[in-house]
Symmetry: C2
């Protein structure tokens, strides 16, 4: 992946940097096919026909390429699409690459573009991603007793991890007080509870050949666009369904997962994910986090990369970066923020948890 | 599919109309997965997270959905993605649905949005789709001797076919003189050489169960975004590569194809496609068309639906509509414009032939 953050390079250049790095690591000259993830290159950078644009830019104009989009989980959707192509025998090797360029736009414009992921009716009442996340956080606190301190500890932990990750957008640790005192974004969420707007790209190669890490399971889950129609606000059906499908394919469950990258676009979402994924018993995620169980040296390291919170969140780049990160963790290549694990999980949220993905990776040797 | 043309309904409503019709024909209550094709719903209708939006709108909020995009061939790319999912055993049934809503925007805006499919450098010199198509047409005439009369006969034939198709945007035949005298769009192309801007949607169901028609072969081909770097202007490498892949998968070649829907966004593109697909010997497409060989009652009916020229071209809807049309032709359900065929082909162009698809369908009983 590229370093995430405020980057001056164009999106095609960022994507090319990530793609070349993945191809080089995989010792592959040219893939059979390319799957490109980008949430909205049309409006973020004014470009269309983006799969062809990327293929040409990479020097692979004759390699078939297509683009996949599921809002903020587009990267994971692209991995799934590449996986299906290899699993069906349609390709022997697929380059999956995605990213976003956002920081050149004013924040209100970015917020507007991301807000289009929300149900149009709820949007018409002024709902934005942070606003809905704030409502969900209030519901979570009221219903489960999770505290703002526990939620804030997610941010503290992930910033501490990001400080050790050379690819991270933010490299400075933050204190609990700093999180609790940062400015309000959407009550009760404060600035340090929210992931940043980032530029960046990530890539990986899927192959039918023997590889040091395999996709043991991959699953997608969906939920209604309108948050008001959800059965629950304090867990995400889309994550639960994705996890169920991924574990079913893997033939094992959360008990074997030793590290996970989860979609902490807002700090409380990490707590929700831990329980939806079955990694922590229901109602225990806040306490486990405060007790250090999910820290990089804890029982079950969560977001050792820094997560969306500190590594950053270049939308379609994120789902791929999470899987690349787990790949590195399983192979002992996560320099500076390494944990010990043979099985890892990546969890990506599309929209306000309308289209989520879970990918389980396993070291093969 | 819906009727193509100027429609008042919203894109989600058009998509739902097509989806319900396909599910009903397939006698399927709910699919395992949904693949949505839309080229640019963000800018055409101001909506994002479109796969989730469509799934929710169809009443399938819990069915996993993703969106696929390859510019104007997005519909065919979605069929391929659904095919891979079924072929990989990841889904037993996939609803593939796509469309576009365009007629509510001013034509220059539509032209600008579609023009983003062109290489940015060529775009910076003012290249538009019709302008590049005009250049290609001039090259075709100079290099192969094809005449404007032969090119115009494509439009005459396809309008005659569209007049018989209740789903078509244009239901009136046009004379050769009317085509040759219509106003210039991009020399030598005139208005009646160009497909219209249309609203519409199309859908189909892919299944692992026995079905009356099977996808015998499906293939993608790609070429460089920049037209100036192409090896040839008078044939499309992306079509040739897609056809080669599709025929290889099918285990047979163009000799068994008895009907085809080809991407005639500009009338001369039908002549180029006929030769690139191997359906007509090199250099013979113009004469074959003028001789009536590709007419609905000819040796090899091409675009019996009216093609993009007369059925219309709601971008991401087109690639799916072509395959639905061939499906109907093979089953004898193409009311009013039926031909006799057991094997048919659909050919879709993405961008200016950067990302093309060929799908070969075969009747199974």
């Amino acid at each position: 992946m590229t370093r995430f953050g405020k980057r001056q390079e164009s999106l095609p250049d960022l994507v090319a940097e990530a793609a070349r790095s993945a191809l080089s690591a995989a010792r592959l000259e040219a893939p059979d096919a390319i799957v490109v993830a980008a949430m909205n290159p049309e409006e973020f950078i004014g470009e269309g026909n983006f799969a062809s644009q990327i293929a040409t830019h990479l020097g692979f104009a004759h390699v078939p390429a297509l683009r996949v989009e599921t809002a903020t989980s587009s990267g994971a959707a692209a991995v799934y699409t590449g996986f299906a192509s290899v699993a069906a025998g349609l390709s022997r090797s697929v380059l999956v690459v995605g990213g976003e360029k956002m920081t050149h736009l004013p924040t209100p414009r970015v917020s507007e573009l991301i807000g289009r992921s929300i149900d149009p009716h709820e949007r018409s009442y002024g709902a934005t991603m942070p606003a809905l996340a704030g409502l969900i956080t209030r519901a979570l606190m009221a219903k489960t007793g999770v505290t703002l301190k526990e939620i804030s500890q997610v941010a503290v932990k992930n910033h501490a991890n990001g400080a050790r990750n050379p690819y991270a957008h933010f490299r400075d640790p933050v204190s609990l007080d700093a999180v609790l005192e940062s400015r309000i974004v959407a009550d009760p969420l404060r600035l340090y509870h929210c992931c940043p707007i980032s530029d960046g790209a990530a890539a990986l190669v899927l192959t039918a050949e023997p590889a040091p890490v395999r996709i043991a399971g991959i699953g997608q889950g969906a939920d209604t666009l309108a948050v008001r129609y959800r059965e629950s606000l304090v867990s995400f059906r889309a994550t639960q369904a994705a996890a169920k499908a991924a574990y079913r394919m893997a033939g094992f469950g959360p008990e074997r997962v030793e590290v996970a990258e989860v979609h902490d676009a807002f700090a409380p979402f990490e707590l929700i994910a831990l329980e939806d994924l079955g990694l922590v018993p229901s109602g225990k995620a806040g306490r486990a986090t405060l007790a250090g169980e999910t820290a990089i040296d804890g029982r079950l390291p969560i977001n050792p990369s820094g997560g969306l919170k500190a590594r950053g969140h270049p939308l379609a780049g994120t789902g791929i970066a999470q899987i690349a990160e787990v790949f590195w963790q399983l192979l002992g290549e996560a320099h500076g923020h390494q944990v010990a694990a043979r099985v890892g999980l990546a969890h990506s949220i599309g929209g306000l948890a309308t289209n989520n993905w879970v990918t389980v990776l396993e070291r093969t040797r």
